[in-house]
Amino acid sequence: MYLIETRDLNKVYGSKQILKNINLRIETGDAYALIGRSGAGKTTLLRILDLLEEPTSGEVWINGSRLTHKGTSALEARRKMAFVLQKPMVFNSSVYNNVAVGLRWRRENKHTIRNQVERILEMMELIDFKDRNARTLSGGEAQRVALARAMVIQPQVLLLDEPTANLDPLSTSRIETSISRIIDEFDTTVIMATHDMTQGQLLANKIAMIIDGEIVQEGSPRDIFYSPSDKAVARFVGIENVLDGVVITNTQGIAIIHTSDNQIEAVTDYPVGSTVSVCIRPEDITISKTRSSSSARNCFSGSIRRISELGPLARVELDCGFDIVSLITKSSAQELEIEKGMIIYASFKATALHVIGDSHVVETVQEESTRKKA
């Protein structure tokens, strides 16, 4: 039995369909991330799970019971959860009162309230702020109050909507550490919506990619990051190099894919004639001044179009007849003494590529694979 399950959930506002046939299955203890762009429907989905909104159609189940939006059963279900909204909305009172409010509503005694509130304030490093008006706190501190307020009630499910949106890097890091501690130290299932891929990868053990209200892929962070199911997911997870092509040969899983005027070798089961997209992560592309003699099957020469610095990394844009982007360390870039206009070689392994087929090709390959197994 799943802790939370949604069945064919749909939400329509006016003429716009916000959610399309959402079927989630979340198990106890999961740290589950809903990842997608702003406006993809993540917040609406969380609001439906927390019974703040009703779906247009479909069902939400918790612990094997179907949720209803009215009556005491709705309140009971909601009291098993806590939802931290995107914009931390703290009440106009002290930090202590903000955090204590959920326990007071549950009619806990004063002694329990004081113990639990102080414990969670210590954990969130907020104890020194306990008498301060929460409205005078910074965005990061207010978000920590919101997290403490949610966790003090020890919810079965913690829903987080963009927990670090609009925060500075330091506050983001503190919130991520706090969420990580919650995942590790509490028996709470965490469901978070974020547009930040790195955050999803850092905190979640399962990820659902949501694009235009539809879950297009679900799996472990590794599945999503290294085996995206379509081009939109690939681009969203930071695979900047997506080349369209056709499989022209395939010998025991080593395929030659024709892309514009080049040929790329890749490990894939797609048969000859398949229309595919080849995904190459920028960090999997190495660059050198001479043709690489390494095991990399693919090596292309090209001129450097642009070099930009990204913290400790350098992003190198190359024109190899097709556009390609490589991420190397800044020290490697300095050692190679690369500069704009220089001709260099970009290499990548056939095994480092991820090949995505057109949907009808995917179905054909899956059918073929099933037939072989049978």
Binding site: L52, A82, L85, M89, F91, V101, L159
Partner: protein, 228 residues
């Protein structure tokens, strides 16, 4: 100008000497307005919250009607209450006409639309995320309502101030259903009307200044409460 100056000095004199009749009239004004404001708030704050929180057919029309009643003339309310409590009216048997109770009922009727409308406006001004936050932390509907009311307390107190101001300064209701009976239902406004008609302008101005002073003191007290 002389009359105004004389009125001012007279007011100071009446205050310093604690003129017993003036003090009684002022006390009565304060008492009636405070009771009617408190009773009306007890009804209008929860009712305004219910109207704000729940969706029902005709809600917009109802809110528009409430807002229209803000400007209902006090004599109109006086007449309305008079019809109800006069000896031939539906509540005639209660013999409320020309009693303090009649004034309080009239003032409550007068300020209820203001308190209702301004409560609804005050709650509408609160970020909807406050209610969502409360619900998502396990508040039931009533607890969420209290949270939103607390968040709107500045605007709600402002509504109370406006309601009290309207109650203490009205003359039509007190005159029509209170009867301006000396020592019983005479309040500052009816006394001002009477003294002016009798040509006692100095006393009228003095009473007017006392009325303003009372309103000011009550406003200051309410705003001090609001600041907490």
């Amino acid at each position: 100008m002389n009359e105004l100056w004389d009125g001012l000095t007279k007011a100071i004199e009446l205050l310093i000497t604690l003129d017993s009749e003036v003090m009684q009239i002022a006390g009565r004004s304060l008492q009636f307005a405070a009771i009617s404001s408190a009773l009306a708030s007890l009804i209008c704050l929860p009712l305004g919250s219910l109207i704000h929180f729940y969706q029902f057919p005709g809600k917009r029309i109802l809110v528009s009607m409430i807002q229209t009643l803000y400007s209902f003339p006090t004599v109109g309310i006086g007449l309305f209450v008079f019809v109800f409590i006069s000896s031939s009216g539906p509540l005639g048997d209660l013999e409320l006409l020309f009693t303090p109770t009649a004034i309080i009922i009239g003032q409550m009727t007068l300020i209820s639309p203001i308190l209702l409308g301004l409560t609804i406006s005050a709650l509408s001004g609160v970020n909807t995320s406050i209610k969502d936050t409360a619900l998502s932390l396990g508040a039931n509907d009533r607890q969420a309502m209290v949270v939103v009311l607390k968040e709107a307390r500045f605007a709600v107190v402002a509504a109370l101030v406006v309601g009290f101001g309207r109650a203490i300064s009205e003359v039509g209701v007190s005159m029509m259903v209170g009867g301006n009976i000396r020592g019983f239902t005479r309040v500052l406004t009816t006394a001002i009307a009477l003294e002016t008609s009798r040509g006692e302008l100095e006393l009228s101005i003095a009473l007017g200044i006392i009325l303003l002073g009372l309103a000011l003191i009550v406003n200051i007290i309410l705003y001090r409460i609001q600041q907490r």
